[in-house]
């Protein structure tokens, strides 16, 4: 029996009286490969931040590997949704990824840390850029570096917020293949808008639009998804025609 990586029970989260998340109950197993989809503003990023303890829900409990979120941070790898990034910050690719190996105050980075960083950069095909200043990268390259930063933590659960947003098709393919490999070692949760691609890789899909609409294996979720999306509708705005779902 696989252990639970994340257990969320009765989560309510609101900002200034506006409900962002309502009655979320979600269990993620340690070997799950889950995609969270949903319209803009549906609360996907918020949900990930609650799992990491960056945001505190007003009601409900979150357990990550049986502990409170902030006690399990060392088991979590996180790729933030890239909205805007400081470009002329004095830091290079290697140093950026190395930060993922942080061990606490007064602990220097070790040789092992450096090796792990190089391996993670290799995994996302960015090793050649390790000396490059972070602002000199393209959006997609930056995203790959930040994926490496999440991987180098050797996490037991990987939380990826729109990891393929600005990555080219070839690299996306590599990336999904990498994830298929990684998922034997860790739980993977990714937020995505691209249901078409996602459904051929992931095992379970959850649709989030303030409430959790459907959560289950891709095959059975499809019907629920369609239902869920009829109410949020937003998906059409993402340019994904409904028939994509039926074709699978």
């Amino acid at each position: 029996m696989a252990k639970n990586a994340v257990v969320m029970e009765g989560i309510f989260y609101e900002i200034n009286g506006i409900k962002i998340l309502e009655d979320i109950n979600l269990t993620i197993k340690e070997n799950d490969f889950l995609a969270i989809i949903g319209p803009n503003g549906g609360g996907k990023s918020t949900l990930l931040k609650i799992i990491m303890g960056l945001l505190k829900p007003q009601k409900g409990t979150v357990k990550v590997f049986g502990h409170l979120p902030h006690e399990s941070l060392h088991k979590i790898g996180y790729l933030p949704q890239i909205t805007h990034f400081e470009t002329d910050f004095p830091i290079n690719v290697f140093e950026t990824v190395l930060m993922g190996r942080y061990h606490g105050p007064l602990h220097n980075y070790s040789k092992d840390d450096e090796k792990s960083v190089l391996k993670s950069l290799q995994n996302v095909n960015m090793l050649d850029y390790k000396e490059q200043q972070i602002g000199e990268l393209s959006g997609g390259q930056l995203q790959r570096v930040l994926i490496a930063r999440a991987l180098t933590r050797e996490p037991q659960i990987l939380l990826l917020d729109e990891p393929t947003a600005s990555i080219d098709p070839q690299m996306q393919k590599n990336f999904y293949e990498l994830l298929s490999k990684l998922r034997n070692e860790m739980a993977v949760v990714m937020v995505s808008h691209d249901i078409g691609v996602v459904s051929s890789y992931v095992e379970t899909i959850a649709c989030l639009n303030r409430r959790l609409f459907s959560h289950g294996p891709v095959e059975t979720a499809k019907k629920g998804l369609e239902e869920a999306y009829k109410c949020p509708i937003d998906l059409i705005a993402h340019g994904i025609p409904h028939r994509v779902l039926r074709e699978h």
């Binding site: 979590i76 933030p80 993922g100 602002g135």
Partner: protein, 272 residues
């Protein structure tokens, strides 16, 4: 040309310039990359309250400025997290209230306040040896704190959210960083004065940032530039009998313009 160095006050002035450059090179780098210029300006002005307190109690104002600026730094950085006001509002309030407190304290002090102007506008030529010792100690505290916690400062400056995810106590280290700003403000007060502190905290690092992407090099370059430019300003002020603090700031400003033009011309594509 170097005959002016034989005076004790000139020697002190140059030592002060060096001590000041260390503080601004190290802390100024974080001020610039973390974009906390405004809060640093607030801390430096609020420090005037501490100066006034020194007059009121009849002790060295530099000593009272230390706790005063640290407390105001913590209030500015921390209040906005607890109470629902934005940080820049908190800064604006502390900035002016701190200065007002200083003036009231001085009003309440017996007699009149000698060399008050040296705290406002700086007076590198009158830095006593005892103040140099204080400046040296503060510099050492700054250097050791940064050596110990550079990983945390880097993490919170670059990506505060990710810093939290990797377990850096962001709020705590932000406060420590503001504390370092407060200490460097105290180091700088005697040299350029409260009103112009921010120039030394930002300009050397802002110049250096155009030429290196490595944090350590950035600090070293800023320290070096600070030394050259403050000493240069000091020498010019002596030569033309001008106010030393203001001359140093003008020299820094001109250096910034020259460096930016230089950087731009280096980046121009070479036309065939």
């Amino acid at each position: 040309m170097l005959e002016f160095l034989q005076y004790q006050f000139m020697q002190n002035a140059f030592i002060a310039a060096i001590l000041v450059s260390i503080a601004c090179g190290v802390v100024g780098t974080y001020v610039v990359i973390k974009k906390i210029v405004f809060i640093s300006g607030g801390i430096s002005h609020a420090a005037f309250g501490g100066i006034g307190l020194g007059y009121l109690w009849g002790i060295n104002p530099i000593l009272t400025a230390i706790p005063f600026s640290i407390i105001s730094a913590i209030l500015m950085g921390g209040v906005s997290k607890k109470v629902n006001i934005s940080e820049d509002t908190a800064i604006g309030i502390m900035w002016s209230v701190g200065m007002a407190l200083g003036i009231i304290f001085i009003n309440l002090s017996p007699g009149y306040a000698p060399d008050l102007f040296s705290y406002l506008f700086g007076s590198i030529l009158t830095v006593p040896s005892s103040d140099l010792v204080i400046m040296l100690i503060l510099d050492l505290i700054i250097i050791f704190t940064v050596l110990a916690f550079n990983r945390e400062f880097m993490a919170i400056s670059f990506d505060e959210e990710f810093a939290q995810v990797i377990g850096v106590r962001s709020n705590l280290f932000y406060m420590v960083l503001l504390g370092l700003v407060a200490l460097s403000v105290v180091v700088l007060i005697k040299v350029v004065g409260i009103i112009m502190v921010i120039a030394l905290l930002t300009i050397p690092a802002a110049i250096s940032k155009q030429f290196t992407y490595n944090l350590r090099n950035l600090m070293i370059l800023s320290i070096g530039l600070g030394m050259v430019l403050t000493s240069g300003g000091l020498w010019l002020s002596y030569l033309f009998d001008l106010s030393s603090g203001a001359t140093i700031v003008i020299v820094l400003g001109i250096a910034f313009v020259i460096a930016s033009l230089l950087k731009k011309s280096l980046e121009q594509p070479i036309k065939a």
